[in-house]
């Protein structure tokens, strides 16, 4: 058994080397397919990040009547926090709001003067509520309609932004759907191209397979080297695809982060390099082994 396995490895290494051109072309095709696959991974990371950053911008603010005691507001904050849909609730007191307002307009003399002339704080205390998903704002807004709460509330921003939130919701859902569709379609195309390349490579070896069979080689011994070659080609292509992707990511990263704040695709690349290599390797080796296995099968009949 060990003899057979070591012979299979020896044959595959020699074939790999001696069929130089065929090997090179196969590796190039798998590398291209893996680059497509890598592109899809990056696309998904970018859209996820974009969606997350847009979602992060959506919130609803609840403004309280100026005479509402702070304890009451903090109680309401607690009750809102206990809702399943709610991710975070920030309390901004009227003093804090004024501070922020003053800081924002410190260069504007007219506004500063107007505020100081007013004598009292005209701003309302508020709660800024963020949900896990944009679709949950409707039910949170519904909760705030409760008469017990409503008596303290001066206004809720949801009513004003409802249309925008709903539209964003629909757009995000569509982006997710398109991303998934693209991933499936392009992976399938890349897979088929590799499958056909390997099939052609093995087709050009069909006479050899016949000779091996005529000399008495068992199916394992005939098929083994091709499968191992598929593994080698897949692994080499996985490494190559990441080496090619590296400078591209470096180049594109600053542009992407100017579009989507907080997105550092090069950081993502570095911190996930091993799992990326794992995905690429798995896809490359998987398609290599599968294609070789299937392609040789038809020549093992006689």
């Amino acid at each position: 058994m060990i003899t057979i396995i070591s012979r299979i490895f020896r044959y595959s290494l020699k074939n790999f080397w001696r069929n130089g051109w065929l090997t090179t072309v196969t590796i190039i095709i798998i590398t291209l397919a893996l680059l497509v696959f890598f592109g899809l991974i990056v696309f998904n990371v970018v859209t996820d990040q974009a969606i997350a950053s847009i979602q992060d911008k959506i919130d609803i603010s609840v403004y309280f009547k100026t005479n509402t005691p702070e304890d009451q507001i903090l109680n309401i904050k607690k009750s809102v926090e206990s809702l399943r849909e709610v991710k975070t609730v920030d309390y901004i007191s009227s003093d804090k709001a004024l501070e922020v307002f003053k800081a924002a307009h410190k260069d504007d003399v007219t506004i500063s003067q107007a505020v100081s002339e007013l004598g009292e704080n005209p701003l309302e205390s508020s709660l800024t509520i963020k949900a896990y998903s944009p679709s949950q704002y409707a039910s949170i807004a519904g909760y705030l309609e409760n008469p017990n709460l409503k008596q303290f509330i001066s206004s809720v921003s949801y009513a004003k932004n409802q249309v925008v939130i709903n539209r964003l919701n629909a757009i995000l859902k569509n982006i997710n759907r398109i991303g998934l569709g693209m991933t499936i379609t392009l992976s399938l195309i890349a897979g088929l191209v590799v499958f056909n390349t390997i099939r052609l490579a093995i087709y050009s070896n069909r006479e050899e397979i016949g000779v091996m069979r005529a000399v008495g080689a068992s199916n394992v011994l005939v098929r083994g080297p091709y499968v191992i070659e598929g593994i080698f080609a897949g692994l080499i292509a996985a490494v190559l695809s990441l080496i090619i992707a590296w400078p591209i990511i470096q180049f594109v990263s600053p542009y992407l982060s100017s579009f989507i704040p907080g997105l550092q695709i090069s950081n993502y690349f570095y911190s996930n390099i091993f799992s990326l290599l794992g995905y690429q390797g798995l896809f490359g080796v998987g398609i290599g082994v599968f294609s070789s296995f299937i392609a040789v099968r038809r020549y093992l009949k006689n």
């Binding site: 003899t3 069979r213 005529a214 000399v215 080689a217």
Partner: protein
């Protein structure tokens, strides 16, 4: 050793490639299958090595009933015979040495034995100085000698040669026939299909003549005669 009993092979549209062919080859015999192209020589050989199955009849080779061998058992069966083809069928990415060694490797023979046997057999066919050449670096006659070395290195009981001199010039033809005779003298049964009149007449061995899928003559020390 080899026994065909009422063997017929009918391809599509009722074309009979072989009809009711029976003959026996004893151990250590040298038998030529003669006949024009399409007479059925190659079909007989294909059935003998299990590349195809007969429509009717039974074929015995050594302890095997060839017509009953399943796909899975074919490799093991093929290691009991040696086959030489007209087009050599060497593995192009393997050197002469590796091509011959391959027949032993597939049988799971240990490396030490292979390293000892292969040079011996290449020496016997006169190619000890070409063992590191790839097939494309060899002449037709040399390729066929490598193929014969590969067919006999595992000491098969029978060597089946299908027009082994078909692609060779007269000089190399006699080289190859000489080799086959030598192998036969060492005790191996040889079945040779050929349509070469000179070869058959020069051999002075048993000749089975086929015509239109039937055995029309079977003579010891036969000559190439066609109706």
């Amino acid at each position: 050793m080899v026994n065909l009993q009422n063997v017929s092979k009918i391809y599509n549209h009722n074309t009979a490639a072989l009809e009711d062919v029976s003959f026996e080859v004893k151990m250590g015999e040298f038998v030529s299958l003669a006949g024009r192209s399409g007479a059925g020589k190659s079909t007989v050989l294909k059935l003998l090595i299990g590349e195809d199955k007969p429509t009717r009849g039974r074929i015995f080779l050594g302890q095997f009933e060839v017509n009953k061998i399943r796909d899975k058992e074919l490799p093991a069966f093929r290691r009991h015979i040696g086959v030489v083809f007209q087009d050599f069928r060497l593995l192009p990415t393997k050197k002469a040495y590796e091509n011959v060694a391959f027949a032993l490797e597939v049988a799971g023979r240990p490396q030490r034995e292979i390293q000892e046997l292969v040079p011996q057999i290449l020496d016997m066919v006169g190619l000890s100085d070409k063992m590191n050449n790839f097939p494309h670096e060899l002449s037709g006659g040399e390729k066929q000698r490598v193929a014969i070395a590969r067919a006999m290195v595992h000491r098969p009981e029978v060597i089946i040669a299908d027009e082994p001199t078909g692609n060779l010039d007269p000089l190399h033809t006699w080289d190859i026939i000489g080799l086959l005779k030598k192998i036969n003298q060492l005790g191996t049964t040889v079945i040779l299909a050929t349509h070469d009149r000179e070869v058959i007449n020069g051999l002075e061995k048993r000749v089975i003549t086929l015509d239109q899928g039937r055995v029309i003559r079977d003579e010891e020390k036969g000559k190439y005669i066609l109706i």
